[in-house]
């Protein structure tokens, strides 16, 4: 078994609307278990586009992607959904919590979908994750009753619920103030240290990037440093 959990081979991506533009050019890189990597680059250089491909949500690309040594091309929509559910935790710039549900339920949903544990166990695990993030007291509140920083921490707890292979983040601190950004960063660091969690985080905050293990820098759709 290799140590690679994510590998991208010659990934190219074109947008055809309105004109055909190449947004990603020959992306080759891999990520190992327990790595805390950040992707930086100017706005519009293709960071988000790359992350959506790596997270299996975007399937319209050239080249190959392996997650956990499994090739992604040719998988059906249901299979991709299962991979996202089981192996990938995603944290967005915007929290995307479901306001109809409590904080606890929001965290539980992907776990219930996985169906590996009973509902009681999933609930227990959700509490554990909320505890790691220090917001277990808010568990029974509705999602829209929390502050921005708290919401983002709930979103991280949700990303953690199925013990994913990797957590991907698209500017997870982009909407947060300095203090909350710091909290989120510390949480990521703690996850790496305590749980050997792999992380791949897109950010435009160079200070944030400098404190990660590895910086992948992009420019005009190409990786120029990694």
């Amino acid at each position: 078994m290799s140590n690679k959990i994510l590998e991208s081979i010659n990934i190219n991506k074109f947008f055809h609307d309105p004109l055909t533009v190449q947004v990603l050019k020959d992306i080759n890189f891999s990520l190992n278990k327990g790595e805390f990597a950040s992707i930086i680059g100017k706005s519009g250089c293709g960071k988000s586009t790359l992350l959506y491909i790596l997270s299996t949500m975007d399937t319209d690309y050239d080249g190959e992607l392996f997650i956990d040594d499994v090739i992604i091309r040719g998988k059906k929509e249901v299979e991709l959904a299962k991979i996202r559910n089981e192996k990938i935790g995603f944290v967005f710039q915007f929290h995307y919590l479901l306001n109809e549900f409590t904080v606890l339920r929001n965290v539980m949903l992907p776990g219930l979908k996985l169906g590996k544990y009973s509902e009681k166990e999933v609930e227990h695990r959700a509490y554990e994750k909320l505890k790691i993030l220090g917001i277990e007291k808010e568990a029974l509140k509705k999602a829209n009753q929390l502050s921005g920083g708290q919401k983002q921490r709930v979103a991280i707890a949700r990303a953690l619920i199925n013990d994913p292979l990797i957590i991907m983040g698209d500017e997870p601190t982009g909407n947060l103030d300095k203090k909350n950004s710091e909290i989120v960063f510390e949480i990521f660091q703690q996850l790496v240290k305590d749980f050997n969690q792999s992380l791949l985080i897109v950010t435009h905050d160079n200070e944030f990037a400098n404190r990660t293990h590895r910086i992948i820098e992009m420019e005009d759709g190409k990786i120029i440093r990694m």
């Binding site: 949500m57 959904a81 996202r84 219930l112 979908k113």
Partner: protein
Amino acid sequence: MNFKLISDISRSLLVARWRQTLVAAIGVTFSITMFITLLSFMSGLNDLLDGLILNRTAHIRLYNDIEPSKHQPVDESNEYYKSYNFIRSIKPKNDRLEIYNSGAIMAALKKDSRILGVAPKITTPIFYNVGTTDLTGVINGIDVEAENQLFKFSDYVTSGNYIDLKNIPNSIILGKGVANKMLANIGDVIQVTTSKGELMKLKVVGFFQSGLLDLDNVQSYASIGTTQKLLGASNNYITDIQIKLNDILTAPPLAKEYERLFGVEAMDIQTANSQFETGSSVRSLISYAVGITLLIVAGFGIYNILNMMIFEKMDSIAILKATGFSGKDVNLIFITIALSIGIFGGLLGLIFGLGLSNAIDQIPFNTASLPTIKTYPINYNPKFYMIGAIFSIITTYFAGYFPARKASKIDPVIIIRGK
């Protein structure tokens, strides 16, 4: 497939939008209520109108018709037997109305297991003598007990006791219209003339009201014996044998069979009353059409609500997909929402429909021509409730189908990028 999770998410989305959900459900409830009420009422009305004729009509009537002889002398000619002959010289005979051998036919029919009952009858034209004028009319000579058993004769005898017809010799039950014209009361003695000119005095023992004015203006009833006496006929003279079957649908083939077997004319109820069938089916068709139209309108209501919900919940759908719910799961969530609106609204509709038709059933409905009817007629056929339930589920399913498919196709990347 974790159905509990799917239904849980559906319920949360429903509850969060409970006002719109309620409006959509009320739409379904309303249409199902109207559907049930309309069908029950229309069908009740159909039964009532059909009953006017059909309950009072034999399923098969055996009789002899006055017909020209089918075999004319010119057909005997060697020269012309192949030709189409127009010369007809043999006229119909006068006294062919009697069913010959009626006793044996009746006995044979009574043994037939397909038959519920048999009642003999004599129909004869007469004149009611009122002062110096004569009113044309018809006397039905009946076997009072058999007639009552098969055709609920007593229901239509509005004054007097029907059994007196049997027990009092030379008695008559007059049609209500006839009685009014003759100013006859119960106990009066009236006089009738037969078509052959014979006079007879008859005692009025009751009035008869069928609900069909044309009938009540001409028809009266007497016992078979009285009628035979009136006609000067022997005591096996019968013009009609009325047959009631166990299964009304077997009437046409059985009529043909008896026609062959007994050498008489046989008329089945379907042929005799085809216009009633048509009327009934048109009325049912209208009720179904209105009910289904209402349901389709309700279906569009659900369709709108779901489309709106999907539009509002784009983010939620995107995140569900990003965190591992497949298009199929999302599809199921919205189908479940549509079906719960349909089932909940439909169930309420069935209950309200029952309530409303019951309320209509209580409204007094008195009409001189329908002596047995006291309130508006309602048919509580469970079939309508089944159809209503099935239709509400089918329409809501289709109303949910397209929005659900749209939701399942939402691309999470587009939504998440949009922010």
